[in-house]
């Protein structure tokens, strides 16, 4: 009986420890968000979003940084989404487990683990210097494309995988070709999952700093073309905080950054719950 009691005691202690670990993780996350939002939210007036930074960011708002972030993210998605979705279609619909698919998967896994500063070094020497695109929206956007590719591929693959095989059989039985089946049956059904992956990539692009600062620069001037250098919100936040330009503005930018990322993530989670969990 003593042995019996002790193993239930162990279980009780272990479960309490695990509850504590899990809850304190969430508590710290809430604390992080709270401490930045508490100081930052009061700064967020409409004018903060609609005015461009003045005096290095001491005054004014973050409008040009928002435009820069949006442009950079757009380039990353416009190039990255077709590449990622195409890869997923190839892996799921056009090949079985083979040497080539294993190679591609290994490449994607490795790419997913490459640190952002390495992407930054690569983007700097390849896009900025060799291809002579300078610090620009294009250089930064293409560097981000490389970074988000693994996310787009894996989420698109997951959602394509979740489509029952019978859907495809119906299309084939009606005389559909492979490509018709892919474009009219597989892709429409996989769309919510693909969109989730793209949303997560948008979130990652907005938050990325190390790779962007090396490839898109840190100019506060409003961009006029794809070849203009820009400063994204994350980079602006980093520079304000690290160089101690203005703590008030840093808090404001940080709060705006958190809000954007939060909104995008909630949308992605909603999509996952609504469309993906139900089918699998």
């Amino acid at each position: 009986m003593i042995i019996n009691r002790s193993r239930y005691l162990t279980q009780a202690i272990a479960k309490i420890l695990i509850w504590m670990g899990a809850l304190s993780t969430i508590a710290v996350m809430i604390l992080i968000l709270f401490q930045i939002l508490r100081e930052g939210l009061p700064v967020l007036h409409l004018s903060f979003f609609l005015e461009s930074p003045k005096e290095m960011g001491r005054e004014g708002g973050i409008f040009s940084a928002i435009v820069g972030t949006a442009a950079l993210t757009l380039v990353a998605i416009v190039v990255g989404a077709p590449l990622g979705i195409g890869t997923a279609i190839f892996l799921r619909e056009y090949t079985r487990e083979s040497r080539i698919s294993r190679m591609i998967r290994f490449g994607t896994d490795c790419l997913a683990g490459v640190p952002s500063i390495i992407f930054g070094l690569f983007g700097f020497v390849f896009f900025v210097i060799r291809l002579n695109m300078g610090w620009s929206i294009l250089s930064g956007g293409l560097t981000l494309t490389a970074m988000i590719l693994p996310t787009v591929i894996s989420t698109a693959e997951e959602s394509i995988k979740a489509i029952p095989y019978s859907y495809r059989e119906v299309s084939y039985s009606l005389g559909g070709t492979k490509w018709q089946t892919v474009t009219r049956v597989v892709l429409p059904n996989a769309l919510p999952g693909i969109f989730t992956g793209i949303l997560l990539s948008v979130g990652r692009s907005i938050g990325e700093t190390a790779a962007v600062i090396l490839t898109a620069g840190s100019s506060l001037v409003m961009p006029t073309s794809l070849f203009s250098p820009i400063r994204t919100m994350s980079v602006h936040f980093y520079i304000l905080a690290r160089e101690g330009i203005s703590m008030k503005m840093a808090y404001g930018t940080g709060a705006a950054l958190i809000l954007f990322v939060l909104i995008i993530n909630v949308m992605a989670q909603w999509l996952i719950n609504r469309y993906i969990r139900h089918r699998t």
Binding site: Q11, M20, I32, C110, I117, I118, L121, F237, L257
Partner: protein, 282 residues
């Protein structure tokens, strides 16, 4: 029609090779920029040299390698127990009502930009450490604590997948033999999912070694061999991140060479993780 289908298939194959192409380009350009300097300075002097004075042509990154490992080990000391607790909580203990909130919260942890973590470390942890534990505050300890949190999503999602992949009979069998729920978790489920959990920790380690911006803000940027967790430090990544903005010539090459070392460490860890998760599949 047949012809068109062939073209589509080949196009998709080309697209699918893009990630390998990107990886190859990254490798090529980092090496092309960095290797000349390693050859000039000498591999041993570069890796084991303790002096980093670019103006004098001294490029030794040994203190940074050591600091990178200190910070990473510190992060794992926090990240492994906390990550395991969250994983077990998610897959075994969680009441459904909490589950709908807890899982998105973990996803959010992954979505918070690293500059936000860095800023929080700077304004909250650093003063806390400086006032209560001494030292400059900007320290390996502060960096490790923040990194420990940043690697949690990696550890949790991958090790949860490993637990989920186990046949339900493992749990049923253990419970049927009279084991408590906890004994089942600790003696059966966790050991059975071991290789996946180890893979998750290795990937978390890669994430920790590769983190840059948060570490620039927290570590305090001192190029010296760390003597304790309260010391300031400069890691491989922060070395690149801090100096890339103004470096040129041999100095810039030295930063790319630092990138090569980082790249090797990350690739070794990735390969190990892929190998481990393969073994689980068989």
């Amino acid at each position: 029609m047949q012809y068109q289908e062939k073209i589509i298939e080949k196009t998709l194959l080309l697209i699918a090779l893009s990630s390998i192409l990107i990886l190859a380009l990254i490798t090529f350009f980092i090496f092309e920029e960095g290797i000349p300097l390693i050859l000039k300075v000498g591999l041993k002097a570069f890796l084991l040299g303790e002096k980093w004075i670019p103006s004098k042509g001294l490029f030794g990154i040994f203190p940074m390698i050591v600091s990178s490992f200190w910070v990473t080990i510190g992060a794992l000391l926090l990240g492994i127990p906390l990550g395991l607790a969250c994983t077990i909580f998610l897959s075994e203990l969680i009441p459904p009502s909490v589950g709908t909130l807890f899982r998105p919260a973990i996803q959010l942890l992954a979505a918070i930009p690293s500059v936000i973590y860095g800023f929080w470390g700077l304004i909250v942890l650093v003063p806390l450490i400086r006032n209560h534990l001494g030292g400059p505050g900007l320290s390996i300890l502060a960096g490790s604590l923040v990194l420990g949190f940043m690697i949690l999503p990696t550890i949790i999602t991958i090790s949860e997948d490993a637990l989920k992949a186990l046949p339900p009979s493992y749990k049923a069998g253990a419970l049927a033999l009279g084991a408590t729920h906890w004994q089942t978790i600790w003696r059966v489920l966790i050991p059975a999912a071991r290789s996946g959990i180890v893979a998750s920790v290795i990937l978390g380690m890669g994430r920790a070694i590769g983190e840059t911006m948060a570490m620039i803000m927290i570590l305090g940027n001192a190029v010296k061999l760390p003597a304790s967790f309260f010391d300031s430090a400069r890691t491989l990544t922060t070395n690149i991140g801090i100096e890339m903005g103004y470096a040129s010539g041999g100095h810039r090459q030295a930063l790319f060479a630092t990138g090569i070392v980082l790249f090797f460490i990350i690739m070794a860890l990735n390969t190990l993780a892929v190998f481990l998760s393969k073994r689980r599949a068989h």
